[in-house]
């Protein structure tokens, strides 16, 4: 079959005497191929990528409204995690312990004047709010109670609409890719587009020189439009990442799917966020924590500030003036020690 475009005729073979020496073959490609095929393909791909991003941004469902109960509980959880995590070390021991008690005491506990801990109050609040919300919904639904057993039977987190959203995104991407690939291999068939600057084995020939017929002796690194398409498709991702300044569409979809499945919260996948229960658990956990097992960075603050100048065994003389305390009487040290004191008072 003859090549459909005579542009190819301008190729020159450097070793015409021996057609089997494929590696020394250099094709000189027509610059019109560059102007009308290679660069347009690149532009098409960039445009398609931009289109896909913006359409995806348009079609993206608005984020699910988070109920105020859950939002409140989550911010409470954030506070607890701060106390429990490393930043708890930046307050003093007494403050930490006071917070732990104030947040986690049970009702009727002797230690804190019979007041319930803040977390448990929050949990009770969330419980009552949730009940009120449910009651409200029930009265609103009124007659259409027939739906209720169905929705109740559904697994939490397995909301079909959210599952479908992720699927839809993937499907759209796949359809777009397939259509683009078909179109490109149809419109730009029969060109040797570029030479990839690395050797390929003959196994790739079928794949990368699709659309080029009866060029059995052509070096495999000369590729046709389909492989250029693939190269551009994968290679432009980094470019888009730079151009968009935000994660790519497919990555966003993946993240959303993860969020839906509850993976980012560390909870069990598919589990629904149950505010009262989580709060109670956190309160119990906090109650079990022991202040003695924790390190407080505030206690080491002086040591860190003074470094080597920190006096070794002068702590016994505490209270008899800063000159004695630090064993040194230079003005700089005085200033330092007074600043430390101020810090400690805070």
């Amino acid at each position: 079959m003859p090549l459909p475009h005579s542009n190819m005729a301008s190729s020159s073979i450097s070793s015409p005497s021996d057609p089997l020496v494929r590696t020394t073959q250099t094709l000189l490609l027509d610059s019109q191929i560059r102007d009308w095929v290679v660069l347009p393909l690149l532009v098409i791909m960039i445009a398609a990528g931009l289109l896909r991003t913006y359409v995806g941004r348009l079609l993206r469902p608005p984020p699910k409204p988070i109920s105020h109960i859950d939002a409140r509980a989550k911010s409470a959880l954030l506070r607890i995690s701060r106390l429990r995590g490393g930043s708890g070390g930046y307050i003093s021991k007494n403050h930490w312990e006071a917070r732990r008690l104030a947040w986690s005491t049970r009702e009727g506990s002797s230690s804190n004047n019979n007041t319930t801990g803040w977390l448990r109050q929050e949990a009770a609040l969330a419980e009552s709010e949730k009940k009120a919300l449910d009651a409200l919904q029930k009265t609103e639904n009124g007659g259409s109670n027939a739906n209720d057993p169905l929705t109740a039977a559904m697994l939490p987190g397995m909301d079909p609409s959210t599952m479908m959203d992720g699927m839809k995104g993937n499907m759209a991407a796949m359809v777009q890719n397939m259509v683009m690939m078909q179109g490109i291999s149809h419109f730009f068939r029969g060109f040797v587009l570029v030479k990839v600057p690395f050797p390929l084995t003959r196994g790739f020939k079928q794949m990368f020189q699709r659309g080029l017929f009866d060029l059995t002796t052509l070096d495999t690194s000369y590729v046709s439009s389909v492989s250029w398409y693939f190269l551009v498709m994968f290679g432009l991702r980094a470019f888009f990442r730079l151009a968009m300044g935000e994660p790519l569409q497919e990555e966003v979809e993946g993240n959303e799917l993860q969020k839906e499945l509850g993976l980012d919260y560390g909870g069990p996948p598919g589990g629904q966020f149950d505010a009262p229960k989580v709060l109670i658990t956190e309160a119990d956990n906090l109650e079990l924590m022991n202040v003695r097992s924790r390190r407080f960075k505030l206690e080491d603050a002086e040591k860190k500030l003074l470094g080597k100048r920190y006096p070794k065994k002068k702590k016994i003389m505490k209270g008899s003036g800063e000159d004695v305390l630090f064993g040194l009487s230079s003005g700089k040290n005085k200033a330092l020690s007074s600043s430390i004191r101020n810090k400690k008072k805070d």
Binding site: L27, L28, L29, D30, S31, I33, R34, V38, L42, L77, L78, S81, R82, R84, G85, G86, S87, G88, G89, Y90, L193, V194, K195, V196, P197, F198, P199, L231, V232, F234, G235, L236, R237, A238, F239, R241, L242, Y265, G266, G267, N285, L286, L288, M289, N290, S293, R294, R295
Partner: protein, 137 residues
Amino acid sequence: MIDPMADIDGTTSGSGGGAMAMDPSTNADGEHNQEVFDINAHRINMKKMDYIRSFMGIVSGCVAGVLGLTGLSGLVCFLLLHILVNLSLLFLKMNGDLHAYTREKNLFVFLIASDLQKCGMSFMLFWTLFYGLVYLF
């Protein structure tokens, strides 16, 4: 370029998020989860590093293409430039303190393995493109 490494340094960052769901029974040692860790700063660091690497992947592809490298020499050029970029990230932006900024302990993983594939694809594209534009047509 903005300094990509926000204050994730364990000694200066004040607002640590900590891990959300951590079993309190395991923190009897207290050492393991008392690390101050700001997840947002970490995310920003990762994003900035990703930017730099993508950009340098593209640029190194152009370099290799314009220089007319083919075959193995192009691959070597890519690996060298990738490592060079990561090293300069490490020493110019992170002051050589890898763990404080990325929580990555393994130097090898940081230098070689991270984002190699993503960079490699864009490198290949721009390598091919510029090689073609300069030498082929």
